[in-house]
């Protein structure tokens, strides 16, 4: 089968219990089961992880770089969302 006919999967690895799964790359596979096996062979050859997620790339809905302004701009004029915005007297400033 030509590789173009295979689906694209994104691979996420949890490197250690307690940590989030992190995106490590992608691969082509016939289905989820095969993607999982390929991911193991490809991305965890040196025991990089304790858990793998594979997700069809076409199932990921992503924001666009071009939308960044209207997505994130409103946060820029809200400095009061940060702890450092509040100036407190020295003795209690470590709260």
């Amino acid at each position: 089968m030509a590789i173009e006919k295979l689906e694209l999967f994104e691979v996420f690895i949890r490197s250690k219990r307690g940590l989030d799964h992190k995106h490590v790359g992608s691969l082509h596979a016939e289905d989820h089961a095969q993607a999982l096996e390929y991911a193991r062979d490809c991305y965890t050859r040196r025991s990089e992880g304790v858990s793998i997620w594979v997700v069809k790339s076409s199932d990921i809905c992503a924001s666009q770089e071009d939308d960044a302004d209207c997505f994130y701009d409103p946060s820029d004029d809200k400095p009061y969302r940060h702890a450092t915005y509040y100036v407190l007297p020295e003795p209690v400033n470590n709260m």
Binding site: R14, R17, G18, D20, S51, K78, Y80, R81, H82, A83, Y85, Y86, V87, L88, P89, P91, V92, M95
Partner: protein, 317 residues
Amino acid sequence: MISEEQNFMRKIEAEEKIEPKDWMPDQYRKNLIRQISQHAHSEVIGMQPEGNYITRAPSLRRKAVLISKVQDEAGHGLYLYSAAETLGISRAEMIEQLQSGKAKYSSIFNYPVLTWADIAAIGWLVDGAAIVNQVSLQRTSYGPYSRGMIRICKEESFHQRQGYEAMLSLAKGSAGQKAMAQDALNRFYWPALMMFGPHDSESAHSQKSMEWKIKRETNDDLRQKFIDQTVEQIEVLGLDHPDKGIKWNEERGHYDSSDLNWDEFWSVINGNGHCNRQRVEHHVAAHDEGEWVRDAITAYNSKKNNKKNANQTKQVA
């Protein structure tokens, strides 16, 4: 070959996190669902007293800050509900348990909020107490809960600081403002201490939760931490400490303090606080009023699906 239970305990002892698909004892799962959902409900119910003051905040700046804080609490509720859902309980079940009274939320939100100074005291003391608890829970043994706590702690530090700042403005203001601040401190100090729960000896779930490292520090130890850190904060405000029995104990390296009114604690927990009924009724009403939004989403989805199916049929034909 070690048993599943032995393997589970090995992970706990080795400070490894338990992840959703791991084997875990039924009671571990139950304790976690109870604790995490109670925590989530507290974030959500906690929006009510503060939300009430958004229109009455004394300045545009305070209003913007309060809106941001309430927004954060909604987000924190979401993180926690999602963490609980990884244990196999649905959001609908949790909401049902909250509304029927089967699940609890922090008893602090059953105390009435009478003035703007109360809002300042809540940010400072209630969020302050919550942070002491949550910092400790960052090391909880259940992965999704731990990660949620880390995210929440990062966002939460502004909550306590804005409360203290608002308190400071009042305490350094007119005599009337200072009296308001003192009154709020007097009323919220004790319920804030009760947020840490009953004495360790009275706490039904504590021992097993400590063994399993769901909780990392006992109720009494966390409460002591909060008592110790609050003394200087009250001094800097120039207010009187509500506990006349507060006294530094050189030997213990901690402040000694008066015992709490545990009858009041149990009474509020059991539904007899000033605001218990009102908080749950409001939640039910808000949920019901949102019904049309959920209906609209369902209707839109089925309309979209119908269209898709129709198109497919057309192509086949």
